[in-house]
């Protein structure tokens, strides 16, 4: 397998954009990635698109060729990947695999979602389609409800508190307020976070990520060809995608995600690194409890320590392990199909030293964790300076 590098990144802002359709968001991000690398559309050999529910949100299907042709990528294989909120993490995994194997050289991997054209109850229903419709969803589970039940059990077994969850929200809002491309650039206090309106007990609106529109894209190539392009190449050091059962009630232990642990272990092994070698991370904080469990499952802290570690400030931009310096899904926004590649763009910005006020100190090696559903898909990526 050949080493692979990211040679260009491009993102739209994340937010609610009533005047923008799915295609225009995807074209903006894809064109920016090409421009960042100073690559021509004719150099791109394949297009890998991550999108969770474009047909349900917008009615439009056959999305990959629709976007590829609008980007000027004529005649190339253009395929959509669906893995719930890990859709573009999965598109990225398969794009890197294809380049590493020698099948292609220059490939565009992208993620996009257009969500704000639907009402909150309808969005809730569409997102619930990533759960098991025959059991938990039929009984009335939503994604906030599934993660609320995970939070309750984590609190019961490890003593995790509402303050621990709120600390994650306060920190991610503080980071997102400094990110010009974030959906909700608003600082919140611990008191506000604790007094939020309940969504699904014990989770409040401040524990839940945002419903957003947005797109993110990366151009990749074999490391040996990276010098032909304009941007400083960033190397893919470790990468793994894993899967698990979809229904929460089929998991033995809901306070940990088996798919995250195994994706982390595989990515660390591929990179020849251990958790303490990672300088910073972007993790999938679809809910505050998910960030706490992610830092435990990825081996940054021991089981049950995620809450106290977060409350003590260790995961802040200038802490021992900055987590979600971008603002995370909580504040940056969560256009679900765009989130995985969006995290990759955030890592690249940090490693290049382009993160401005959010720049972390130990920026040489970063890890991204993208989760689908309540842990049925996970993609873990480790990037480093080439």
């Amino acid at each position: 397998m050949r080493p692979v590098a990211i040679i260009g990144i491009g993102k739209t802002a994340f937010g609610a954009f009533p005047d923008r359709d799915l295609r225009s968001l995807a074209v903006e991000a894809g064109a920016k990635a090409l421009e960042n690398a100073a690559a021509r559309p004719a150099q791109v050999e394949a297009f890998f698109l991550g999108n969770f529910a474009g047909p349900s949100f917008t009615g439009q299907n056959h999305l990959a060729p629709l976007i590829a042709s609008a980007l000027g990528l004529h005649g190339v294989p253009a395929t959509r990947f669906e893995a719930a909120c890990a859709s573009s993490g999965s598109a990225f995994f398969h794009a890197v695999s294809a380049v590493a194997s020698g099948l292609y050289d220059v490939v565009l991997a992208e993620g996009v979602e257009k969500m704000t054209c639907q009402t909150t109850p309808k969005v809730t229903e569409i997102l619930a389609g990533a759960g098991d419709l025959s059991g938990e969803v039929k009984a009335g589970a939503t994604f906030p409800a599934l993660f609320a039940m995970i939070a309750r059990r984590h609190m019961h077994e490890y003593g995790t508190t509402r303050e621990h969850l709120a600390a994650v929200a306060v920190k991610n809002h503080a980071n997102g307020a400094k990110n010009p491309a974030a959906h909700m650039r608003k600082v919140i206090t611990m008191e506000q976070a604790l007094a939020g309106k309940p969504v699904s007990e014990p989770l409040t609106v401040y524990d839940c990520s945002l419903v957003s529109d947005g797109a993110a894209a990366v151009l990749i190539a074999p490391l040996e060809r990276a010098v032909e392009f304009a941007a400083k190449p960033i190397r893919v050091l470790g990468l793994a995608q894993t899967s698990d059962v979809v229904a929460l009630d089929e998991k033995d232990d809901i306070t940990t995600f088996r798919a995250v642990r195994s994706a982390g272990e595989k990515a660390y092994r591929m990179a020849g690194l251990k958790p303490s070698d990672i300088g910073f991370a972007e993790v999938h904080d679809c809910f505050t409890i998910a960030e706490i469990i992610a830092i435990e499952d990825l081996g940054f802290v021991s089981k049950g320590e995620g809450g106290p570690f977060s409350l003590a400030g260790n995961t802040c931009v200038h802490g021992t392990l900055p987590v979600n310096a971008s603002g995370g899904l909580k504040s940056k926004g969560h256009p679900v199909g765009a989130t995985g590649v969006g995290q990759i763009c955030d890592l690249v910005q940090q490693i290049r030293g382009e993160a401005g006020e959010r720049q972390v100190k130990r920026s040489q090696i970063g890890l991204a964790q993208n989760l689908g559903g309540s842990g049925a898909t996970c993609v873990v990526t480790i990037l480093g300076a080439a």
Binding site: P121, G140, E201, L248, I254
Partner: protein
């Protein structure tokens, strides 16, 4: 789960009260949802009727409607 296989009693593994429901359940919110530990092993996601329950509580089967099982807190 097939109604024929639903036990009459079980215990709460975890639970939540849903305030922001999906569109099809808008009229029913807020409602309590729980995952039960079944006496013979395995788990199932159900609705709770009446008094709110917490982790470890025992619940009794009430009825099954449209493929969803409803349980109620067991009285002491």
């Amino acid at each position: 789960m097939n109604p024929a296989t639903i036990p009459t009693t079980a215990t709460i593994y975890t639970e939540t009260v849903v305030y922001s429901p999906p569109e099809q359940y808008s009229a029913e919110a807020p409602y309590q949802l729980a995952i039960l530990n079944l006496p013979e092993g395995g788990r199932v996601t159900v609705r709770i009727l009446g008094e709110r329950v917490s982790i470890g509580d025992s619940v009794d089967f009430v009825e099954s409607r449209n493929g969803v099982s409803y349980f109620r807190k067991r009285l002491p």
